[in-house]
Symmetry: C2
Subunit: 458 residues, 2 copies
C-alpha cells in the first residue's frame, strides 16, 4: 500500500548539505546575539487562537493555520452555519471546532510571553528566539508556508541606545556573513508628522500601508492606492513632494526639519533619528551603510518610533531584515506602558543570497573524518576499538557496517567525500598498525594509533 510520499505544499525537508549551510548562518547570528547579551527563549508552536486572532489584520487572520479540536468536535457544529457562506459565519464555525492555532510570527507570542512571565523577568529584558512560523500563503520562491524566523528584541526601556545597539548587531552579523548591506532607517513619528503637514493625520494607517508597497509596486500604484482611500489629490501631490527629498542623510534631515517645524510629533521623530545617526557616526559601523529613507514605512501597525529594514547590495531580493520600536505591544494582553524595540533576520532570503555568493561552497560538510573498512569479524571488532579511541580524541570516525564487497565500501567513501579510509586486515591484526589511505592522494601508509591521533590533531 504505497501512499503519496512528499511534504505538503509550501514545506520542505532539510537535507544534510543544506543543514550545514543553515547551521553556519544560525551559528553566526547566535554568536553575535550572545556577545550583545541577548537571552534565548522558546515559545510553543501552538497558541490559543484568542492570543493570535485579530493581531495581524484581517488578511493575517486568514493566513493563520487553525488546529482542529481533538475528540468529537463535530457535535458542536451548528448546521445552520453551513448554509451561509459569509465571513462572520465561517469565523463562528471555526471557533466552534478549533481553539488553537499555529504561531504566525515570533512577536505576538513574545508579547504574550512578557505579559505572562513579567514577574520572572528583569527589565530591560533582551531576548532572542529562532523558531519556525507557519502561514497559509501561496508558496513562491523564497516564501514557504513553514519557515524559521529569527528575532532579537529589547523590552522595558525607551532608550534610543537600543536602536543604536540593534543597528550595530545587524552590522556585525552581516559583516560576519561577508555580506554588503544597506540598513534603511526611518521613524514612524516622521511619517506621522508628514501626514499632519499634508492634513491627513487620520489616514496615517492607509498611507503607511500603501507606502510600504513602494518598492514592490512603484510610485504610481502607491498614489492610486492612497487616492482610493479618499485622500485628496492635493494632499497626495504634497506627500509625493515631501517624501522625495534628495541628498545624503544629513541633508535630508536638514530639509525635513524645516518642513516639519510646525509638527511636534514630526520634530520628535527627527530628533530621535538624529540621535541614532550621530551615535553611529561616532561609534562607526564595520561594514553596513546606513540610509535615512523617508519612504520606509513597514506595514505592521504596531510600530510607533524608529523603523529599520536591511537590503543586500547584491541584486534585489527584497528586505533581508527589519524591525522597529513599538510602545504598546503588550497592551493587548493587559500589560500597559512597556516599550520595546526589535529586529528580525530574514533567514530564508539570507540563505538565497549566500547561495549565490558561493560562500557555502567553502564550508566543510564532511562529517566523517575517517571510515574504517569492514574486512571481516575480527578486523571489525579491532576497528571498533580504534574508533572508540579516535572519538575519545574528538575525531569523527565510523566503520562500514557490512563486510561484503570491498569495492562497494571504497566507492561509498568516495561518494561521501570521506578524506581517509582505514583498514584492519589479517596483517594489521598481527601487529599494532593500522593501514590508512588518504583518498585524495591515493597514498597509503601504516600507522600506530598514536601516530594516527597526531595526524588528525594537526
Amino acid at each position: 500500500m504505497a501512499t503519496k510520499v512528499n511534504t505538503p505544499k509550501g514545506t520542505k525537508d532539510i537535507l544534510p548539505d543544506e543543514m550545514v549551510n543553515r547551521n553556519y548562518v544560525i551559528n553566526i547570528i547566535k554568536n553575535q546575539f550572545k556577545k550583545f547579551c541577548f537571552n534565548q527563549i522558546e515559545t510553543p508552536s501552538i497558541e490559543n487562537s484568542s492570543t493570535l486572532m485579530g493581531k495581524y489584520g484581517e488578511e493575517g487572520d486568514k493566513l493563520i493555520f487553525k488546529i482542529l479540536n481533538s475528540g468529537n468536535y463535530s457535535k458542536n457544529i451548528d448546521k445552520n452555519l453551513l448554509d451561509k457562506q459569509n465571513k462572520e459565519d465561517l469565523n463562528f464555525l471555526t471557533n466552534t471546532i478549533s481553539n488553537k492555532a499555529l504561531r504566525y510570527d515570533l512577536t505576538i507570542p513574545f508579547a504574550r510571553f512578557v505579559t505572562q512571565h513579567q514577574d520572572k523577568l528583569h527589565f530591560p529584558f533582551k531576548r532572542y528566539q529562532i523558531q519556525p512560523v507557519w502561514r497559509a500563503e501561496k508558496p513562491q520562491r523564497g516564501r514557504l508556508r513553514e519557515f524559521y524566523q529569527c528575532d532579537a528584541d529589547i523590552i522595558g526601556s525607551k532608550s534610543l541606545w537600543q536602536e543604536v545597539e540593534l543597528i550595530q548587531l545587524y552590522d556585525q552579523v552581516f559583516n560576519d556573513l561577508n555580506l554588503d548591506v544597506t540598513i534603511e532607517l526611518n521613524n514612524r513619528k516622521i511619517l506621522h508628522g508628514i501626514t499632519e503637514i499634508i492634513g491627513e493625520i487620520d489616514k496615517i494607517t492607509d498611507i503607511t500601508v500603501a507606502l510600504d508597497k513602494l518598492d514592490k509596486i512603484g510610485a504610481e500604484k502607491v498614489k492610486e492606492e492612497i487616492l482610493s482611500k479618499g485622500i485628496s489629490k492635493e494632499s497626495v501631490d504634497k506627500l509625493s513632494e515631501l517624501i522625495y527629498i534628495e541628498g545624503d542623510n544629513l541633508e535630508k534631515v536638514k530639509t525635513l526639519k524645516r518642513i516639519l517645524s510646525t509638527s511636534e510629533i514630526g520634530k520628535e521623530g527627527i530628533k530621535e533619528l538624529e540621535f541614532i545617526l550621530d551615535a553611529l557616526a561616532n561609534i562607526k559601523l564595520k561594514r553596513a551603510k546606513i540610509v535615512f529613507k523617508i519612504t520606509l514605512a513597514r506595514g505592521l501597525n504596531y510600530y510607533t518610533g524608529s523603523i529599520f529594514e536591511v537590503r543586500s547590495d547584491y541584486g534585489d531580493i527584497g528586505s533581508i531584515g527589519g524591525g522597529g520600536r513599538y510602545d504598546n505591544l503588550t497592551g493587548v494582553f493587559g500589560l500597559k506602558n512597556i516599550s520595546g524595540v526589535g529586529i528580525s533576520f530574514g533567514l530564508e532570503r539570507i540563505y538565497m543570497i549566500l547561495e549565490q555568493s558561493k560562500i557555502f561552497e567553502k564550508l566543510d560538510r564532511n562529517i566523517t573524518q575517517v571510515l574504517f573498512l569492514n574486512l571481516g569479524e575480527l578486523g571489525a571488532l579491532e576497528s571498533m576499538k580504534y574508533i572508540s579511541i579516535l572519538r575519545e580524541n574528538n575525531i569523527n570516525a565510523e566503520m562500514f557496517p557490512d563486510s561484503q564487497n570491498i569495492k562497494k565500501q571504497i566507492s561509498y567513501a568516495n561518494k561521501r567525500n570521506i578524506p581517509f579510509i582505514a583498514m584492519i586486515g589479517d596483517e594489521e591484526l598481527k601487529s599494532d598498525f593500522i593501514t590508512v589511505k588518504n583518498m585524495s592522494e591515493a597514498k597509503q601508509d601504516r600507522y600506530t594509533i598514536d601516530e594516527l591521533l597526531n595526524i588528525f590533531s594537526l
Copy 2:
C-alpha cells in the same frame, strides 16, 4: 481589551534559565552524534495526513493534531455526517475539512524522507534529528502535548555492528551527562520464538503490546490482558514461566537457547543478541550497564529485531531512551527491503532527572560578563565604543540603556548576577581609564581597555 494570556494546555514557554539547561543537554548529545558521524536533517512540522494516519494504531490516529484546511472549508461538509456520531463518520468528516496534520514522532516522517529522497542519499545513511512533536494526550508530569524528540537512525544495512554502535552512543552520551543508566536489550525474534513455543504465534502483537506494559501495570494485569485476547490459560502460564528466567545475561542466554531450540526464529534472535553482547564485552562500555531483559517488548509494532530501552539508576521515572531494529519501515511508502535501526533520547525525562541531580546548578547561566552603567550621554557614547572592543574580543558586554537612577542600575546588575560593572563618568572621560567593579568582591579599580581585555581573557 485584555485577552487570556497563557500557553495552551500541555504546552509551555522555555525561559532563559531553562534554555541554558536544555542547550547543555542537547549540545552534549549533538557532540556525540557528530563523533559517531550522524548527519543532521529536519523535516516539516506539518505532514500530509495520508503520511501519518494509520501508522500509529487507532489510538495514535486519535492523538494526531489535525490542521483545518484554509479558505472556506465549510462548503465541503456533508451535513448528513453530523447526525451520526460514529468513528467512521467522524474520520470521513475530518478528511473533508483537513488534509494536513502535525508531526506525531520523528520516525514516520524519516521513513517518508528516505523514500522521497532515496536518490540523493548514500546508504547506509546515518541521520539525527532534534525537533518538536505534538500529541493530543492528557498532559501529565513529564508528558506535554508539544515536546522535543531526539532520534538517531541508521538505514540501509542489516549489520549488527550498528546495534553495537548505537549502544555505545547511549553509553557515551549518558557518561557525558554524568548519569548512571542501565540499557535493557532484547530481540523481537526471541519474543517471536517464545510465542511459537507456547503455540500462540498469531497472537504475537497482543502479547508484545501487553508485555510492554509490565513495568507500568504489573504482572497480574498483563496476564489478565493477555487472557482477554483469547489466549489459553495454559499458554499464559507457560509464557509466565519462560519470561521469568533468572541469572546474569550469559545465564539467561544459555537457558533460552535450550528452550528455543525448536524455533528457528527464536534461535536467530538469540544469535543476534549474543553477537551484540560479545562485541560489547570486548569493546567495553564506559559506564552504562547492559541487561538482557526477556520481558522488554516495546509497544510499537514496526520493530523486527533488536530492541533497547534505557533506564536511569536514580529512581523510577520510566524509560529515558529506546529504540530498535525495523526491517520494513519504508515499505508503507513503497520502498521495500530497507532495514534500519534507531534510538531516541527522552529529552523531557532526562531534564527531570538532571534537575534532581543538581548538575544544572553548576552551569554558567550568566550571559552578560560586564554591564556598563549609563552615567549620561557622553559617558554612554564612550561606553558603547569600549563595548564594541570587548565584543570584538569575544566578551559579552552591554550597557544599561537609561541614565536615570544609578541605584536602579546597580540593583539590575545584582538581580541578574552580572559579575562586573564598568563606569565611564566625568573623570574617566578625561582619561583612558575605565572604572570596573567586581560585584562579588565589592572591590573597584581603574583599568585601561587593554588591561581589561587581559583580565577577561584569563
